[in-house]
């Protein structure tokens, strides 16, 4: 339960605000002032959530707002404080954002799953409205006039009849002595009064980013710090047999080598183990490491070969799996024979490859550790480091820097734990720097997945029965090495929630054992599930010689809310009352994108084609049309992308457009070149040379993003652009060439005529 309390006398973040400042805290208290108002906690279905958002106003009018979520490029560090600033009616130019350390008092800080705005929008508005109300009350008291005659107006309170004005800074001290108003007494702004919500601002950090002074994890530095580069077993779970502890010391700047013990499965976020080379600078550590000549006992994962593993997954996908969802009786329809279509789809392991490799600084002193790191989840850092060091979570201070990209990788603080373990061993601050090769070879990969699709179709080519079966090593295997099935949280992602109006439907999941650490990457299981469902839909449309848009709308069926309560369906931890699976909204984005892309109306040249896909993920509805040109040599140019997004209320439209532009490029990388493979357990790729990601000349030439104007509760924007892009691109390639892409990346499919 959260409630806003006046903590002015307790001070704010130490040293941040001067005496007499108004400081509000929306924080957990055992007996909440407003018990009824905490739906935002329930909305995530995680009872441990206790949002605690601080807002402070100094006597000079400076407003401090704490960002408790991590900034990795989604602008969340700006957009959430902006919501509070709007309700406060603050002048954005006078707002300063302070990044929170990891602390459960802030509530959930796991910046993941595209839910920052969804989870904290209400809390931020309430915080701002509370502070504004207190400032207005303070002004009314000073003027000895009724509160109703006073109004906040851009960092001032105005007495409307007389035109008198007082600035927020002038009122802060008086306001800080007032009791906190009840929520029932708060007046929230009308939508028409919003200054920032729905209009957006640029990132708070944009100037520092372009002038090079912004501090990312890679840029963190503390006095007396040494640098470490760590050699890990090429095969996950391997043990160190021997290494040369003398040769590295001949490299100028190398100080010593240190062994980190191998982890005991499950992997979780534990340090992998290995040999660290400690040096005076990063370069020396890298050079010393080349001379380690480490020899490893690879262990059981040495049997992992991607080619064999793919065959295993595909065989499993052709056999009956665990039932996830069933409607009607698909099996009896298939048993009757008739016109039945089958197809297999495959998506390989994918690495995150954020531009900033894993990096962390840690300083262990007197039984406590302080870290500065780019993390999506500072509380996971606290938990992991506490376990690894045998100290309490409260003895871990995690400062969150800017993140140089993350995409889910920086939710897993194995690299931070390495720095902490080394600092404890060495008795001095340590900076661990992963090379790009380390990043590619030691990821928490998005699962490799095989999907088997089957449909019995009527004489118009419409499915009367539909079977879909996915097989992938689950994320759960990283936390429990025996886990082989997708959990409800994986299967909700474009699988359990297949939105089609098909009377006989069967959704299954087969088993697969993991041999590498499996994690979550931007949009996660939606990537491979969306690819299979939306590609197969397009196959059926073409097979029926029907227009893919018209066919897709037919598959979706009439506008309705799909009831999935009979199935294990977490709905991204949101209530289905607030966030139903709404086919009306899904139809709307399809219809809109058809219109915006001039679907069926544009004349395309030889070798060009358009493809469509629709997908709901993270509670957001997205339809995407891609136009490609494929030349005789098979080279694909992505001429244009149109994407329609219904994410409910959008707080920062410009940042949202950026996310969807970026998602198109991220999806381009997945289709063109994303593939991690293993040979004898070791990852074969190493850098952007053999794990290429899309460059400017390979990216879509133009991505147009259209945001549906909606008052529905806010949903995700960071991830949902990826799932429909991938099949839309492959469907466009089919339209252009007649060649169906059933396996990713594209290099597995021959496109050229030559």
């Amino acid at each position: 339960m959260s409630a806003i309390t006046n903590v002015s006398r307790r001070g704010f973040i130490t040293g941040l605000v001067g005496a007499g400042a108004l400081v509000l805290s929306a924080r957990y208290i055992p007996q909440p002032l407003w018990a009824e108002e905490n739906n935002l906690v329930g909305a995530l279905g995680k009872s441990v959530l206790h949002p605690d958002i601080f807002l402070g106003i100094e006597t000079d009018g400076t407003v401090h707002i704490v960002a408790h979520r991590s900034e990795m490029g989604t602008t969340t560090r700006t957009s959430l404080p902006m919501v509070a600033a709007d309700e406060l009616d603050a002048d954005w130019k006078r707002v300063k954002i302070e990044q929170a350390i990891g602390d459960p008092k802030y509530g959930d800080q796991s910046t993941d799953g595209s839910y920052s705005i969804r989870a904290f929008y209400d809390a931020m508005r309430q915080t701002g409205a509370t502070a504004r109300t207190m400032l207005v009350q303070a002004a009314a008291a000073q003027w000895k006039v009724p509160v109703s005659e006073c109004k906040a107006n851009l960092h001032t309170v105005v007495h409307t009849p007389s035109g008198r004005k007082l600035g927020y800074g002038e009122l802060a001290t008086a306001a800080s002595k007032l009791p906190v108003p009840k929520k029932a007494d708060l007046q929230f702004k009308n939508k028409s009064e919003w200054r920032y919500i729905g209009k957006g601002t640029k990132s708070f950090d944009i100037n520092n980013v372009v002038n090079g002074t912004a501090i990312f994890g890679m840029d963190a530095k503390v006095d007396g710090m040494v640098y470490a580069s760590i050699e890990h077993s090429p095969v996950i779970g391997g043990k160190l047999k021997s290494y040369d502890d003398k040769a590295p010391l001949q490299v100028a700047g190398v100080r010593q080598t240190v062994i980190i013990d191998p982890f005991k499965p499950p992997a979780v976020f534990k340090p992998l183990g290995g040999v660290a080379v400690i040096a005076d600078n990063t370069w020396a550590a890298f050079q010393g490491r080349k001379k380690l000549n480490a020899v490893w006992d690879s262990g059981p994962n040495a049997s992992f070969n991607s080619d064999d593993y793919k065959k295993e997954l595909q065989q499993t996908a052709r056999q009956k799996g665990d039932l996830v969802r069933s409607e009607g009786d698909a099996e009896s329809i298939f048993a009757k024979g008739g016109d039945v279509v089958e197809a297999d789809y495959y998506v390989p392991l994918l690495a995150h490859a954020p531009m900033e490799p894993m990096v962390a600084v840690a300083d262990f002193k007197n039984g406590k550790v302080t870290t500065w790191c780019p993390t999506q989840n500072p509380q996971a850092v606290q938990e992991t480091l506490a376990q690894e060091l045998g100290i309490g979570k409260e003895d871990v201070t995690c400062h969150v820097t800017l993140l140089g990209g993350a995409f889910g990788r920086k939710s897993k603080p194995d690299y931070v734990a390495e720095a902490a373990v080394l600092s404890k061993k060495l008795g001095k601050p340590v900076k661990v720097v992963w090379s790009r090769e380390d990043d590619i070879k030691f990821g928490y990969y998005n699962a490799v997945a095989a999907m088997y699709m089957k449909a019995a179709v009527d004489d118009r080519g419409k499915p009367t029965a539909w079977l879909q079966r996915s097989v992938f090593p689950p994320i759960a295997s990283t936390f429990n090495q025996d886990a082989v099935h997708g959990e409800a949280g994986d299967l909700q992602q474009g699988w359990t929630d297949i939105p089609y109006a098909i009377p006989n439907l069967r959704v299954e999941n087969g088993s697969a054992k993991a041999h590498v650490r499996i994690g979550w990457l931007r949009s996660v299981a939606n990537i491979y599930h969306g690819f299979a469902v939306q590609s197969f839909s397009d196959e059926l449309a073409h097979r029926a010689k029907r227009d893919p848009v018209e066919y897709l709308l037919d598959l979706l069926g009439p506008a309705r809310k799909v009831d999935l309560s009979a199935h294990k369906y977490p709905n991204y931890d949101a209530s289905t009352d607030d966030y139903p699976l709404d086919i009306g909204r899904m139809r709307q984005v399809v219809e809109m994108v058809a219109e915006k892309s001039s679907w069926g109306k544009r004349k395309l040249g030889q070798g060009s084609g358009m493809g469509i896909a629709v997908h709901r993920s993270f509670l957001t509805y997205v339809a995407t049309v891609v136009e490609v040109n494929v030349d005789n040599s098979g080279e694909v140019t992505i001429a244009r992308v149109d994407t329609v997004v219904d994410a409910g209320l959008v707080v920062n439209p410009e940042a949202t457009r950026s996310q969807f532009e970026g998602a198109a490029v991220f999806g381009t990388s997945i289709v063109r070149s994303g593939e991690i493979t293993a040979k004898n357990g070791a990852i074969e790729q190493s850098n952007f040379s053999d794990y290429p990601v899309a460059r400017m000349n390979e990216a879509p030439r133009q991505t147009n993003v259209y945001i549906v104007d909606s008052d529905a509760p806010p949903a995700g924007v960071g991830e949902p652009g990826v799932p429909p892009f991938t099949p839309a691109l492959c469907n466009a390639i089919f339209a252009a060439t007649g060649t169906r892409v059933r396996e990713l990346p594209l290099s597995r499919t021959k496109l050229g005529k030559a």
Partner: protein, 166 residues
């Protein structure tokens, strides 16, 4: 005339290299193979120049040598005697360079990590090709990876800085 003795005694295997970084004279003493990137970051503390790949594949480490873009991650210090190096911190001469301003105006960055390299590359491109076409922008910028996928805005910012209509 006798040459004056070096002011610093150079240890075996180490080099003494005089260069300018953002207009300031510096002498480097250390492993001559050390790439400029690590000298800038770990020795001089100029962390605006980023480490992305260490192999000239991503462009995050781009700086200027005598006004031209180079990849500092593969440029050994031994090659930089008397070089004039400019980094993102120095390129605007104390204020924002017009290209940096265009980056803000077009709201280019997402995470921002690659952007100093992108900006240094773009400034170098525009110095050589003041009014670039789309193809010239592609050619000039394809060595710089942005994993967030801000390419469309990068192109728009370059065109705006060049005064070329989109």
């Amino acid at each position: 005339m006798a040459r004056s003795a070096p002011a610093v005694i150079v240890r075996r295997g180490e080099a003494m290299i005089q260069l300018k970084v953002n207009g300031k004279s510096q002498s480097f003493q250390g492993d001559p193979d050390m790439p400029l990137l690590w000298y800038l970051r770990d020795v001089l503390g100029l962390t605006g120049t980023k480490f992305g790949c260490g192999a000239s594949l991503c462009g995050a480490c781009t700086v200027h040598r005598n006004g031209k873009a180079i990849r500092s991650c593969v440029t050994p210090m031994s090659t930089l005697s008397q070089a004039e190096i400019t980094t993102i911190e120095g390129v605007g001469g104390g204020q924002l360079h017009p290209v940096q301003k265009a980056w803000v105006e077009a709201n280019v960055p997402q995470c921002g990590y690659c952007q100093s390299g992108q900006i240094m590359q773009a400034i170098s491109l525009l110095a050589k090709t003041p009014k670039p076409t789309d193809e010239e922008i592609d050619d000039g910028m394809q060595g710089n990876i942005c994993r967030c996928g801000t390419y469309q805005r990068i192109r728009a910012a370059i065109k705006a800085a060049a005064g070329v209509t989109a």
